[in-house]
């Protein structure tokens, strides 16, 4: 059930999609999402339009989301933000329901290349949300040596002891280990090479020693607030950071770098099988697929929506992105050049987790 760009997969259809033509439910829609990953104002507009309330439960990593969903600890109506690294396991655990496209009138707005994604041919369970790439976010006014950001060596800046105490890496084992792999010239973020992974694990231990990074997904606010000067982060973090700068600070202070072959990804919406309000969930997805709503959403979230109409150029033209941060946008060329993070088989995943726990135990 693991799809890759080279060999796409049609996921098994588990369960029935909901019937056509149902009216949206009323009450409270429960959404499981990352923190600060959807614009409260956009949600308020949705609440008003449908006369409902939306409440959010937060997860920090996809692994936590999977664990909570499996144990029944959380019972949301809609999940936002998962990627295909966990999709196979969600489907295997029969946690998702097939979508009913008749409710998704705006589905045609999705970027052409993602309408029939390799991880979910026919888009049975998923609808793309945002696209992003992983790179290094930094402050331009704190003495970071930007000339060093070139090719594989550029990643080495995360190991630079000059930045000790002011650095961060992502609390995402796939991204952080991939950074170490890339630095060693292994340009495969899905590798099953045990030696390469073991080396990556040691390198990360060295990173921890040299730089004492904070390990979380808060780069978007920490860099903006000035608590951190350099961080492994997702491209959208830098864009979102603009909203967290202290009043009066120019967005010029934020910078982002990534090599062309960096690992890219998109995440998506999906609806749990046990969703109590599936029609409403579809309605919210559809609402966020509308180009105007999506643009408004982007202003807060920072990440680039996976919509055809909102290309990098159009976002800059619309004034949504400051000039200095154009580097953080994902263009079709860079999306094509980047490597996708796909699901790993349990054996390979165990290797990755081993390397990760060596890093996290310090």
């Amino acid at each position: 059930m693991i799809g890759t760009p080279e060999s796409p997969v049609t996921l098994p259809t588990v369960g029935e999609p909901i019937a056509d033509g149902l009216a949206p439910e009323s009450g409270t829609l429960s959404v499981y999402n990352y923190a600060d990953y959807v614009n409260p104002e956009t949600i308020a507009a949705f609440e008003e339009k449908f006369g409902v309330k939306v409440e959010f439960s937060i997860y920090d990593t996809e692994e936590i989301a999977l664990a909570k969903m499996r144990s029944g600890g959380v019972k949301p109506d809609l999940i936002i933000g998962l990627t295909d690294s966990v999709l196979a396991r969600f489907v295997a655990a029969e946690l998702l329901q097939p979508l009913n496209k008749s409710y998704l009138t705006n589905f045609g707005n999705v970027i052409e290349g993602l309408r029939d994604p390799y991880y979910d041919l026919g888009a049975q369970y998923t609808v793309p949300y945002v696209i992003y790439t992983t790179g290094i976010g930094y402050r331009t006014d704190r003495g970071i040596d930007t000339s060093a950001f070139v090719g594989d060596e550029g990643w080495s800046q995360m190991w630079n002891p000059a930045y000790a105490g002011r650095a961060g890496v992502l609390d995402s084992y796939r991204d952080t280990i991939s950074m170490a792999l890339y630095r060693n010239g292994v340009h495969d973020p899905n590798t099953d090479d045990a030696d390469a992974l073991a080396q990556a694990g040691s390198d990360l231990e060295a990173l921890a020693e040299a730089v004492r990074p904070q390990v979380d997904i808060l780069a978007y606010q920490e860099i903006a607030a000035g608590n951190r000067d350099i961080s492994l982060c997702w491209s959208g973090d830098t864009l979102a950071g603009v909203g967290y700068l202290p009043e009066g600070t120019s967005p010029d202070v934020l910078g982002f770098w990534y090599p062309q072959n960096s690992f890219t990804a998109n995440d998506f919406f999906c609806i749990p099988r046990e969703s109590q309000k599936p029609v409403l969930a579809h309605a919210l997805i559809d609402f966020l697929l509308d180009a105007d709503n999506s643009l408004a959403n982007q202003a807060f979230v920072g990440y680039q929506p996976a919509l055809e109409a909102l290309t990098a150029d159009s976002l800059v033209a619309a004034g949504a992105i400051p000039e200095s941060l154009v580097s953080a946008l994902v263009t079709p060329a860079s999306f094509a050049a980047g490597k996708r993070l796909v699901s790993l088989t349990p054996e390979v995943d165990a290797l990755w987790l081993d390397a990760w726990s060596r890093f996290t135990t310090g």
Binding site: R70, E209, N227
Partner: protein
């Protein structure tokens, strides 16, 4: 008349004999509901931890499959983790945790004892005032107190701006052991002061006076009379503080999110809540409980013995 009283013993012993002389056995009925509760929600969960620690793992989802029958227990993960603690990747975490706790407890004692002593020896309205102020942190959530300190220590916080006046440019939240240890001290000192105060308050000060009368200097009287007399209370207080500290993880999470300062509690939280390896988490919980049980048992024995000696 007593209708306004909280019906604390509302559970009237239904089947208890209404004889005029009550056997001590029949009092057990009162204790039964509570005991049953603790059995179901305390003892059994602890057993469940063992069942999971010694159970199996689902290969695809890596979630735990508990083994309730001790005869089916599988100790491979347990041995694995023990090996990791003694010589492998968990060794750093274990050593570091013990180190932080020891340092933090010593510092807490150094701060808490003088304060408790002063409080015990003062009198009158000042005493009540100080007592209230010292108890105050209890009514403030631990997290809020940490939050308050983190705010002050941030790059643009008051402490950093104050020290930059003197030219000291230091990032107080840079993931250092000092920051975490001081955080632990700040968080737990109030929990130490009260038991210390309780002990010192009940101390028989006449013994100290007697020592003074016999010619001891204040310092000698302190070290040779007060301190030994307060030892049981101090030990109790230290237990009360060290035990929770060994399982602390949120202090590190709030003050420093760096792997360099990771404590055992963080590791347990990671294994259990991040959903990756619940079985290892359960094993670590067992190991932690065992260590704490040893400490508690040693304390109880030590206390009992000193009682006998007195």
């Amino acid at each position: 008349m007593s209708t306004s009283a909280p019906t604390s013993t509302g559970r009237a012993p239904a089947g208890a004999p209404r004889a005029s002389s009550t056997t001590s056995r029949s009092w057990s009925v009162f204790a039964l509901p509570g005991t049953a509760w603790l059995a179901v929600f305390f003892a059994v969960p602890l057993y469940a931890v063992a069942a999971i620690a010694f159970g199996r793992i689902d290969p695809v989802f890596r979630n735990a499959l508990p083994a309730w029958n001790p005869l089916q227990w599988n100790f491979s993960t347990f041995v694995d983790v023990l090996g990791d603690i003694l010589a492998g990747e968990l060794r750093g975490v274990a050593v570091r945790t013990v180190f932080y706790v020891v340092v933090a407890v010593v510092c807490s004692l150094a701060i808490g004892y003088p304060v408790a002593y002063f409080l015990a020896r003062s009198a009158g309205r000042t005493k009540t005032l100080i007592l209230v102020l010292i108890v105050l942190p209890f009514w403030v959530s631990y997290l809020m107190r940490m939050l308050a300190w983190v705010n002050l220590l941030q790059r643009d916080g008051l402490v950093a701006r104050f020290t930059s006046l003197f030219g000291v440019e230091h990032n107080w939240l840079d993931g250092s052991a000092t920051a975490v240890t001081l955080g632990l001290v700040y968080g737990y000192v109030p929990f130490l002061i009260l038991p210390l105060y309780a002990t010192l308050e009940r101390l028989d000060w006449r013994l100290v006076e007697a020592a003074r009368d016999l010619g001891a200097s204040p310092r000698q009287a302190f070290w040779r009379v007060t301190v030994p007399l307060s030892r049981p209370g101090v030990a109790a207080g230290l237990m009360l503080v060290a035990l929770p500290m060994l399982g602390d993880y949120y202090t590190n999470d709030i003050i420093s999110r760096s792997p360099r300062t990771e404590m055992l509690g963080n590791q347990i939280d990671f294994y259990l809540n991040a959903g990756t390896q619940p079985q290892r988490g359960a094993v670590l919980v067992l190991v932690l409980s065992f260590v704490l049980a040893c400490l508690a048992w040693w304390y109880v024995r030590d206390n009992a013995r000193s009682e006998v000696v007195r």
